[in-house]
């Protein structure tokens, strides 16, 4: 399913890019994005060079290129939405084009990073560079329960669909809200159990 694939950006592989330490990849991606962001708006040859480099790396990962492209195209509307506003100002066409290029290159860089690096490895990097422990713990718990909760939500939606016949717009809103509300109640109950389990294993706030 498309949504399933979208929720799992990491593609397992054993290429040289995959094997690089996560910190190195994060720094490289950040450097590339910063370079593109700070370049003058008319540095078209540099943009082309960056694009060629990204394509070369993407091919070298031997990962699913189509998946990465789909992800890029799905994120592109948000970029276009903001860039279109620039067209409304006088002389906005070159500005529009350069911003579109910049944003697309940055998006491609980040998609490449997330496709070849596990989020848990990036979390370990955040931990090592002393991002506050509370924030890293929150991120780790969020990452751990993301799919649990998403699946729980899907089960609740399926159960509701199989029991109701009406599918009007207002009832769709009520049903979605019902699912979300119940999901929060279950989430807070689960958080209690998680807390007890963490304390039992020696966790201190």
């Amino acid at each position: 399913m498309l949504r399933d694939r979208l929720l799992r950006p990491y593609q397992h592989g054993s290429s040289a890019v995959h094997r690089l330490p996560a910190a190195a990849k994060l720094v490289a991606a950040l450097g590339c994005v910063l370079l593109v962001v700070l370049l003058p708006r008319t540095a078209w040859w540099t943009y082309a060079a960056v694009a060629a480099g990204l394509v070369a790396i993407a091919v070298a990962t031997r990962a699913d290129l189509r998946g990465m492209l789909v992800r890029l195209l799905l994120l592109e509307p948000f970029v276009l939405g903001i860039a279109l506003l620039a067209l409304l100002r006088p002389g906005g066409v070159p500005l529009f084009l350069s911003m579109l290029t910049k944003s697309t290159l940055c998006l491609a860089t980040m998609i490449l990073l997330t496709a070849t690096t596990r989020f848990s490895d990036l979390l370990a990097v955040l931990w090592r560079i002393r991002v506050p422990a509370l924030l890293v713990t929150t991120l780790a718990l969020m990452h751990r329960y993301l799919f649990v909760l998403a699946e729980e939500m899907e089960r609740m939606q399926r159960a509701r669909r199989s029991r109701t016949f009406v599918a009007g717009r207002t009832s769709a809103w009520r049903d979605s809200a019902q699912v979300a509300g119940q999901l929060f109640v279950r989430t807070s109950e689960r958080a209690e159990r998680v807390y007890l389990a963490m304390v039992a294993r020696g966790w201190k706030a």
């Binding site: 500005l95 944003s103 980040m110 924030l135 713990t137 969020m142 809103w173 979605s176």
Partner: protein, 317 residues
């Protein structure tokens, strides 16, 4: 409302990242000091919940559908400091795992949606509840209005950053972001109210816990003041044409000016002066804003009344 990479200029990136770091740092300190350890894992799980709830579709018209932002929902269910931490986690994960929202614009996105949005939501929520009182209907009214206000505050902050970066003209971006988010904010308000109504009926203590166990009175007043000041800043600051100059001054002092100039060869001529130069657009903006606020409050009031009507079953059937 996530700003991608490549739109904000260097000084905006640095300024927003600094503000976001201060906001998140204060929230982390507040959570560490005042939240019982029992509630700490809930922040992480609530962040996952917000992410999951954002995937729910709310059909609007002609095949389009909206979805939740969740800042107000988090603020009402978790309290302000925990909501800031949870929303920051959501934005960090979206950026680092799904490339949704730029990594250099992370500071700006965290500031808009992770700091401003929950704080404005909580400030408005407490203010309305202080006037309207306890109970299901006042709580829902406060929730709905808070959700709308927080959406608008985040949209204005986002518009201000884009305009100050010289990407778009202030008049254009204000009309586009403000106008669109007045409607999106109504959707956010209704969705948040519907969800809080379900939680209130199933486990009222989950909502009440964050509302009644508030900080002591003097600190509460301070918190109101701070929230209000931030709201004012967000709404008014972009109008003050001195803001970019102020930022330029800071940039010069820290040596970013050269960098900013390099990334931005076309200096923006009089962007913020346009609405001010002629009196009427400025007035029209204010009137439109006031009218939108009244409509949002009226919608929140009507929905709260309908949802709190006696005899309704929790499922609504």
């Amino acid at each position: 409302m996530h700003i991608p990479d490549g739109f904000l200029d260097a000084r905006m990136l640095v300024a927003a990242a600094g503000l976001a770091a201060v906001g998140v740092g204060l929230a982390l300190r507040e959570v560490r000091r005042n939240l019982p350890p029992r509630r700490v894992p809930l922040i992480g799980l609530a962040a996952a919940f917000v992410f999951a709830a954002q995937m729910l579709n709310f059909p609007v018209a002609a095949g389009t559908s909206g979805h939740l932002i969740g800042a107000a929902l988090a603020a009402v269910l978790l309290g302000p400091a925990a909501a800031v931490v949870a929303m920051t986690a959501v934005l960090l994960l979206q950026s680092l795992m799904f490339a949704d929202g730029g990594i250099t614009a992370l500071g700006a996105n965290v500031f808009n949606l992770g700091v401003i949005a929950p704080l404005v939501a909580y400030g408005v929520y407490r203010a309305v509840r202080a006037i309207a009182g306890d109970g299901l209907q006042p709580t829902l009214l406060a929730t709905g209005f808070a959700a709308w206000c927080s959406t608008m505050a985040a949209a204005f902050a986002c518009a201000g950053q884009l305009a100050a970066s010289g990407v778009v003209e202030w008049g254009t971006v204000l009309a586009a972001m403000g106008g669109v988010h007045m409607v999106i904010g109504l959707g956010e308000a209704v969705i948040t109210m519907l969800i809080v109504a379900v939680v209130m009926r199933a486990r009222p203590e989950l909502v009440a816990a964050s509302a009644s166990a508030g900080p002591p009175a003097r600190r509460r007043t301070l918190a109101y003041g701070a929230a209000l000041a931030i709201a004012m800043m967000v709404l008014v600051a972009p109008f003050a044409s001195s803001l970019p100059d102020g930022l330029e001054h800071v940039a010069e002092r820290f040596g970013f000016a050269g960098l900013a100039a390099a990334s931005q060869p076309a200096p923006l001529p009089d962007y913020a002066v346009v609405p001010l130069a002629d009196g009427s657009p400025w007035l029209a903006t204010v009137i439109a804003g006031a009218f939108g606020t009244l409509v949002a409050f009226a919608v929140a009031w009507c929905v709260a009344r309908a949802l709190a009507a006696p005899g309704r079953t929790p499922t609504g059937h």
